[in-house]
């Protein structure tokens, strides 16, 4: 039997912060997911006779034969535009995180730091208004 000595909270916090826990977490999730995938691959083969027919493997189209290949299917360019805009604005939002965390530490210069962020947000808002005005956010 394993026996462990009680340890200090400080050290435990250290380990909780360490990347090892992240690695453990991701590996355990992957093990669980892979286990489920493996089971669902194995069990039907054990208990059912394999009867997947060719028609089962064709893409779903309400029971009809697909009348057009998916490669020829067109979709709106708006999806691309939204993805682009997201990258732009999300990077700007990412800049807000460190500012938000450290804001209280600038006790004396609070208003200056606030002003700086106001300038940054102002530019963001101008960009947003431009995008809106140009109709990039409209869906037909």
């Amino acid at each position: 039997m394993l026996s462990f000595s009680p340890i200090s909270l400080g050290f435990q916090k250290l380990v909780a912060e360490s990347r090892l826990t992240v690695v453990l977490l991701i590996s355990w999730s992957v093990v669980m997911a892979a286990g489920l995938m493996f089971l669902t691959h194995l069990l039907p083969k054990l208990f059912n006779r394999a009867k997947v027919k060719r028609i089962d493997e064709s893409p779903y189209e309400c029971g009809m034969k697909p009348y057009r290949r998916v490669e020829k299917h067109r979709f709106s360019v708006h999806f691309y535009l939204v993805a682009m805009l997201f990258i732009l604005f999300d990077i700007e939002a990412a800049f807000l995180f460190p500012w938000a965390v450290t804001f209280r530490d600038f006790a004396a210069d609070k208003l200056f730091v606030l002003g700086e962020m106001a300038v940054f947000l102002g530019i963001l808002v101008v960009g947003f208004a431009y995008v809106w005005k140009r109709g990039a956010l409209e869906w037909e």
């Binding site: 462990f4 340890i7 909780a16 826990t21 977490l25 669902t40 939002a93 956010l137 869906w139 037909e140």
Partner: protein
């Protein structure tokens, strides 16, 4: 190196993931029963008492179903997509503190899997990565409906992620930290110390919840799988447990979103009143129960909203995300910054 903390961490990871899976099973039952009650039906009531064993029967059925791989699908990505969705959903919950620091069998255990300094960043990153599972599923299936569902879903999730992130930034501004345990610690005591009241974050909380509904693809924002238009959306071609994994990922994401909302705005595991002389397990039990109760309420709200509100049209959905929530989140941030700068909100 002492391996004991690692063993404790692993134990927490395994227990919490199993609790989440159990929660998923229970929630599928709740969803079906509550929807039935709302619609004057009975719902599943045959398997076990009140139909409580229905999820187990469902799980066995899912495991035994034939596995279909669509012809011409991209095999590696097709198989990887449910794994990505599932893993990212499980990882996001890890930073949520579901209880205080407790003594258990002589060990000091902090009831949070990952007590990271940038914990909220980890959670937001993990929920964002969930988009990849959906895009991969949609693209790799080589089916029109799956492709459209995947595209719609990714566009929707990235749009609402902006509002979600910006709403959360206001909380970081109020508490001055990204560490969930510290955010929770700052909200101890009476319920008016919660960020939603003391931090003037009512608007932020509403934005966070709305964006959270869109982020988890739940009604009224379940456009990716609008069955009248897109059959089943990105998981049209998935069968057996592979379909079930998307399903579980969605429910785990709902729990994570509820838990994050509770952590950021509603005091986390603090019950909302001073606990007085309580100490030891009565206190810790009360706090864990408070956390479970709050998350349970939001889980119920997810179900309630789903069976009450109709679905948005896609252009309305994108309009709401970009033209309403995003500017409102910016305004909320600016207002919070002003209130913090002029010391209206105390740290």
């Amino acid at each position: 190196m002492d391996i004991q903390p690692l063993v404790i961490s692993l134990a927490k990871i395994i227990i919490i993931s199993q609790v989440l899976m159990g929660g998923v099973a229970f929630m599928t039952w709740v969803e079906r029963r509550v929807s039935a009650i709302i619609q004057f039906r009975l719902g599943p009531n045959r398997v076990g008492p009140f139909g409580l064993f229905q999820p187990i029967a469902d799980g066995i059925k899912f495991l035994m179903k034939d596995e279909t791989l669509p012809a011409g699908s991209h095999r590696p990505l097709f198989l990887l997509a449910p794994v990505i969705a599932f893993v990212t959903a499980l990882c996001a919950f890890a930073v949520v503190p579901f209880g205080p620091i407790v003594e258990l069998f002589g060990y000091t255990v902090n009831l949070v899997i990952l007590d990271l300094d940038g914990g909220m960043l980890f959670a937001l990153a993990a929920t964002s990565l969930g988009v990849y599972g959906i895009v991969c599923a949609g693209w790799a299936s080589r089916s029109k409906y799956a492709l459209m569902g995947g595209l719609r879903s990714s566009a929707q999730m990235v749009s609402y992620e902006l509002a979600l992130g910006l709403a959360a930034v206001s909380v970081f501004l109020v508490n001055g930290t990204l560490r969930p345990t510290e955010i929770v610690a700052a909200q101890a005591g009476w319920f008016w110390n919660w960020n939603v009241f003391a931090g003037f974050q009512l608007l932020g909380f509403l934005l966070f919840m709305i964006a959270g509904y869109a982020e988890t693809n739940r009604l009224p924002f379940d456009l990716p799988e609008a069955e009248s238009e897109l059959v089943a959306g990105y998981h049209t071609e998935y069968s057996s447990m592979k379909f079930s994994m998307f399903f579980m990922a969605e429910y785990i994401a709902m729990m994570t979103m509820s838990a994050l909302a509770v952590t950021l705005y509603l005091g986390g595991f603090h019950p909302g009143f001073p606990t007085g002389d309580l100490a030891g397990w009565p206190l810790w039990g009360l706090q864990i129960a408070a956390f479970t109760g709050k998350v349970g309420f939001f889980m119920f709200l997810f179900v309630w909203v789903r069976w009450t509100l109709p679905r948005f049209r896609y252009d309305q959905l994108m309009d709401l995300g970009w033209k309403r929530l995003f500017p409102l989140a910016l305004a909320n941030l600016a207002m919070t910054a002003l209130l913090v700068a002029f010391d209206v909100i105390k740290g």
